[in-house]
């Protein structure tokens, strides 16, 4: 997709393989505009998480190039102290497994961890942590330890922990996994609000409903680890494409004496009309 305000991230022919040679991404070309609300969709193992890690500069392309903020993102660039600080301040990553991200002894320490890495005083970092906890109604959990939190609470704290840095770009890996409907709705509202505030939000997901409710652009990865399609969110209406990349499933089933087939996602409830039994 092309960027109206110039791309924030540009990927050109990016490929990545895990140690052992198993391909994770193959010749990916992608532009991500500032302020975009982008959903990266794909079946299990299609390379969504790898793409997010590349965008966050945690791993680097084996082939091709990735540019962010006008600079090539490679190991050398992120070894520069100033650029690393600039990049980490602007881009934040919410991991799929909240336990990975919650490594501090208490919720407050966790949220304060990011600000403490910034060039602000410890007192200012503590205030910032308190502000974010209050904003997300997490203050009652302030002194709790991560193992005392529910799955939904962990996800909220993980999001609070990255928001405390004040990033411009938010990367979220399967954020709705294992969330109850209320927490999922809370997350959607939060992301839409952050999007309205001008944040660039990129989420990797298989949740088609979440993508449809949230995104203004989508990138669809196929099981060959390539981009099958990229464009506006209306691509989600292309059922043929979604079936081809294994995001939708077509099967026969029967209601009473009426047997028929239709496509559906395995992640969400679906509705359809039925013809009366003959």
């Amino acid at each position: 997709m092309s960027a109206a305000r110039g791309p924030l991230f540009e990927l050109r022919g990016v490929s990545y393989a895990y140690p052992g040679g198993r391909a994770a991404l193959d010749k990916v070309d992608l532009d991500i505009a500032e302020g975009a609300r982008l959903a990266i969709l794909g079946a299990n193992g299609s390379g969504k998480s790898t793409l997010l890690k590349l965008i966050d500069g945690l791993i680097f392309p084996a082939a091709g190039a990735l540019q962010a903020f006008g600079r090539t993102i490679d190991e050398q660039a992120l070894e520069e102290v100033n650029f690393n600080a600039y990049f980490r301040r602007r881009v934040a990553f919410v991991f799929q497994d909240s336990d990975i991200q919650l490594f501090s002894p208490t919720v407050f320490d966790e949220v304060a961890f990011g600000p403490l890495q910034l060039d602000i005083s410890p007192e200012a970092a503590a205030r910032r942590a308190d502000d974010v906890l209050e904003m997300l109604d997490l203050s009652p959990l302030r002194d709790r330890q991560p193992h005392q939190l529910s799955g939904g609470e962990k996800k909220k704290v993980a999001i609070a922990a990255v928001l405390a840095i004040g990033p411009d770009v938010l990367l979220l890996d399967e954020p709705t996994n294992n969330l109850d409907p209320r927490t999922r709705a809370w997350l959607l509202d939060l992301l839409l609000e952050l999007g309205r505030a001008g944040k660039t939000i990129i989420l990797a997901t298989q949740d088609l409903d979440m993508a449809a409710d949230f995104a203004d652009a989508v990138v669809i990865l196929n099981e060959g680890h390539q981009i099958a399609a990229a464009g506006p969110a209306m691509l989600l209406a292309d059922t043929e494409l979604l079936v081809a990349v294994n995001l939708l499933h077509e099967h026969w089933h029967r209601h009473g004496r009426t047997a028929h087939s239709h496509t559906h996602s395995h992640l969400a409830a679906h509705e359809h009309e039925h013809l009366p039994a003959e």
């Binding site: 890690k53 945690l58 980490r88 990975i100 501090s104 002894p105 007192e123 330890q145 193992h147």
Partner: protein, 295 residues
Amino acid sequence: MKIPDWLGQPATMTGCVCCDVSRGSFLNKTLGGLQAFFVETVFLEAEAAKDGLLQRVDPRVKVSALAGLLVLLSLNHALAPLIIVYAVILGLAVASRLDMTKFLKRTVGPAIFFSFAIILPATLNIVTPGRAALVLLSPAKLTVTYPGLEFASVFWLRALTMLTATILILRTTRIHRLFSALAALRAPNFAVSTLLMAYRYVFVLVGLIGNTHLARKSRTIKLGADGVERRWVAERIAWTLNRSLRMSDDVTDAMISRGWTGRYARLPGSPLTGNDWLAAGIAATAGAALIAVII
């Protein structure tokens, strides 16, 4: 999708369900152990959160006082000061509203177990000569001596008092505040952060191991030979180790993603309150009195 015929049949049961024999299962033992770990953790957290005397004192004061006490006790060679200090520590434990039965069990038992075996030979005349208190072997002249008994008593009571004081501080302080106190007292940030993260991820790994064992239990229809079961346990240990290594890589990524560059920045500790200063003053006075007695 076509399911095979055998899958469509109702489950068949062989043998007699009314004349069964039970067999101790390693799965149940491990699950019981994991459950006990969580129960103990919740118990310790609850004790540290009680509204008792020492729970109200800042961990920095408690850790400093404990360090001073351990040094002084190691310099002391008399029995009377040890008895007094031990009595004071028990008094503090009562005032801190600890479960005294469990507290004594956790302190006296290990003190007996670990120090008695070490110190027993020192009671004999071949190590500590002196007047015989008990003759063990008459022709060989092997006796338990009074000086030997006194030395052993001081040694054992010192070990017991040190252990009791340390457990008292551990039981009256939430663990993360204890580690933070160590950092505030200039313990290396790297070491403290490593300890904190180790403590944090023990829970994740214990939960993981528990779920693995539950999954195995849910599909265990009959236990295999002991060798097979041992192999399974060994494989799970290796799997857990492998998983923890991968997890440590992911955690490092999560830290880097939030700007960590190897520098361990810390939040400032809250200032000591009047009560903390009072506690520090009392501890210092008691320490000075102990020094006077020792000298």
